[in-house]
């Protein structure tokens, strides 16, 4: 499978999904006009990756800001991984947040509560 690489813009994060290593990085800000439209390509890639490969998946989120419709899309991504994890796939999620950003920390904690996945928080 080819990698999924999308450059960062003012309102969308950088997407760097490495098909070889299974390391998936999402970083930046997210408040596009339509979050669902932007994240559809990400969800499609992830779906296909889960279905056609077997290596462990490491997903890193490093948001400095995301809006509420993005929040829904993040949960959609995590739900795909949750289903794969339930079927035995090795999955690890890390939520990176700036150490003085309590809201971002709380957001990570809430996703961790919502999803049954190995999920860790990491301050930077």
């Amino acid at each position: 499978m080819t990698n999924l690489i999308i450059a960062e813009t003012k309102t969308t994060p950088s997407i760097n999904f490495d098909a070889q290593t299974g390391v998936l990085n999402i970083a930046g800000e997210s408040y596009p006009d339509s979050a669902m439209q932007f994240y559809q390509q990400v969800l499609d890639w992830l779906n296909q990756y889960i279905a056609t490969t077997t290596q462990p998946i490491t997903l890193n989120f490093k948001f400095s800001y995301f809006n509420t419709s993005t929040s829904k899309c993040i949960l959609d991504m995590l739900s795909l991984l949750e289903a794969a994890y339930a079927k035995g796939r090795v999955v690890e999620v890390t939520w990176h947040y700036r150490q003085d950003d309590e809201d971002m920390q709380e957001s990570g904690e809430e996703f961790a509560q919502d999803i049954n996945l190995p999920f860790s928080l990491s301050a930077y």
Binding site: K10, T11, Y31, P32, D33, S34, A35, M36, Y65, N67, T68, S69, S71, K72, L75, D100, D101, D103, M104, E110, Q113, D114
Partner: protein
């Protein structure tokens, strides 16, 4: 004189307006206004919250205002409304105003009342529950914006609905955020 600019200037000073915009809000404009807000408030550690509330309000106007404007240069129809960020002794106020249909007005009023009656813990629960469900019909986002703003507001929403035309109302929403640390 067609417009009393001096009075406008003095009123803005007196009300300590940090940012105001009235008109068609495109995504591109929202980004520019957002940068302006961030520049003006970068000294305050509540900037992230204020910015977040601003984005939710601006995107609500962009997507849901009952008053639309066709922007020729981008070939897109966007919502029209007004956003004001002002400063008081201890608070920042982020306020939005826009036209809504009568049906939306009733729904919004009920929703604001409901959210105002909930504790922060209940709001958090509602947010997480709602996020797991499919978006409400007609929603372009996730139907989470109001709940998120209620969570970020340090006071209950101040809101009002007033008749605008025969089939629309003017919806005003105000969110207050403390200046000092929580």
């Amino acid at each position: 004189m067609p417009f009393d600019l001096l009075k406008y200037y003095n009123d803005m000073n007196k009300s300590r307006i940090l940012m105001t915009f009235k008109g068609a809000i495109s995504q591109e404009l929202l980004v520019e206004l957002g940068s302006l807000v961030r520049n003006q408030l970068q000294h305050d550690d509540k900037i992230q919250r204020i910015f977040a509330v601003f984005v939710e309000m601006a995107q609500n106007i962009l997507h849901y205002s009952a008053e639309k404007d066709l922007l020729q240069h981008i070939g897109k129809e966007v919502g029209v409304g007004v956003i004001v960020i002002s400063e008081q002794e201890e608070m920042y106020s982020i306020s939005s105003g826009n036209a809504v249909t009568k049906a939306d007005a009733e729904r919004l009023e009920a929703q604001c009342r409901h959210l105002n009656a909930l504790t922060k813990e209940e709001l958090k629960k509602l947010y997480q529950e709602r996020r797991k469900q499919s978006p409400p019909e007609g929603s372009k986002g996730a139907g989470l914006g109001l709940i998120d703003m209620a969570r970020k507001s340090d006071k209950p929403f101040e809101f009002s609905l007033q008749p605008l035309t025969s089939d629309t109302s003017f919806f005003i929403l105000n969110v207050s955020i403390h200046k000092t640390a929580k």
